[in-house]
Amino acid sequence: MSRRWPLALAALLVTGAVAGYHAMIWYVPHAVMQKAYARFNPANRWVHADVLSGSKGSWVPLGNPDIVASRAAYDLSQGPLLLTGSASPDTYWSLTMYDGRSVHFFLVNGEKLAGQPYRIALVRKGDAVAVDRAKAAGAMVAESPTARGYLMQRTFVTPASDFAALKPVRETASIALLN
């Protein structure tokens, strides 16, 4: 047994290294999401940045200094959500949804909305009842693979769409439980 002991230790070292490698690959996106949940707490409430992204630094690397962002963490544990609001006109606008691993799964932009307000039901993937309710309510459906995640609205600020002028449009955004 003593002759096998060094081999056993080497095997444990390798096994530990492989486990550590995969644990870090799993951990990195989840750490980003934990940061988002902590920063945008409570969930299901938009936080409208009152400065351009990056004006005073950014909480993620390579923040965009030309985007004014509205962000929210979402939590579907109480049921599906209904997101309503309007796209900022005459500039780039998008709403992107990221799941619990920071992977995007839904995007709508101003061009797709063609000037119309949006009504989007955010439901848990596979929740057929919620999808039916959303469709009955005339809403677009976004199916989240995870119960929690992150929402981000991006508005490109241009001389023609200055920051102050965008504020009333941004504040039309709401998140509520889907009735």
């Binding site: 096994t15 550590g20 644990a23 690959i25 996106p29 993620v60 690397p61 920071s102 241009t158």
Partner: protein, 197 residues
């Protein structure tokens, strides 16, 4: 085998496993944004590098890479991101050097070029300037713009840098043209040329 020997071996096994775990985790963290790991995903056009689209975005390593390098990007059909760590000659961008970034209007609804330090944060500057966009860049000619990137104030388009560390530039294209890839060549993307004093 005596009890003390068993305890000693169990402790050694635990310590070796923990050391392996730590080494593996640390290696993974640094490997995620290493040049070697990103090489397989990178699409280089002149000095600009972008990440290739991955079908389904389901690869755990790729997801971790994105989370490490620049989390929460828009998907490729909506926005494209091109990062430059080097100038057009291949030399690393330095915050204490001056560069001339020149190009043509890019085939996207909106685009911007922003300057960052090595950590991906903006260079603090009195001009409150971190980027230029298609709507505020001054054009030299109808089909060309130039931006000076460097620590010394310059007339025209000037992106300030400071310090003596590395710099990086990020070119963003929002709502790029559907057939954009064939049109993105070394000749059509912005060049980054050091201005020798």
């Amino acid at each position: 085998m005596r009890t003390t020997q068993l305890i000693g071996r169990a402790a050694a096994a635990l310590a070796v496993t923990a050391a392996g775990f730590t080494a593996g985790a640390t290696a993974a963290y640094h490997w995620l944004d290493s040049a070697a790991a990103t090489a397989a995903l990178r699409h280089d056009i002149g000095p600009w590098q972008t990440m290739k689209e991955r079908a389904g975005f389901t690869d755990a390593f790729y997801i971790a890479q994105i989370a490490r390098i620049g989390p929460f990007p828009n998907p490729p059909g909506e926005a494209l991101y091109f990062l430059a760590h080097n100038d057009s000659s291949g030399a690393a961008l330095q915050a204490d050097k001056t560069y001339r970034v020149c190009g043509r209007p890019l085939p996207a609804r909106f685009w911007s070029i922003a300057a960052y330090d090595a950590a991906g944060t903006f260079f603090a500057n009195d001009a409150q300037r971190s980027s230029y966009t298609n709507s505020n860049v001054a054009m030299d000619a109808p089909d060309q713009f130039c931006i000076i990137v460097g620590p010394t104030r310059s007339s025209g388009n000037w992106l300030p840098t400071n310090g003596d560390g590395r710099a990086q530039l990020l070119l963003r294209l929002y709502q790029p043209a559907a057939d954009i890839w064939p049109s993105l060549t070394v000749q059509t993307v912005p060049s980054i040329v050091e201005v020798k004093s």
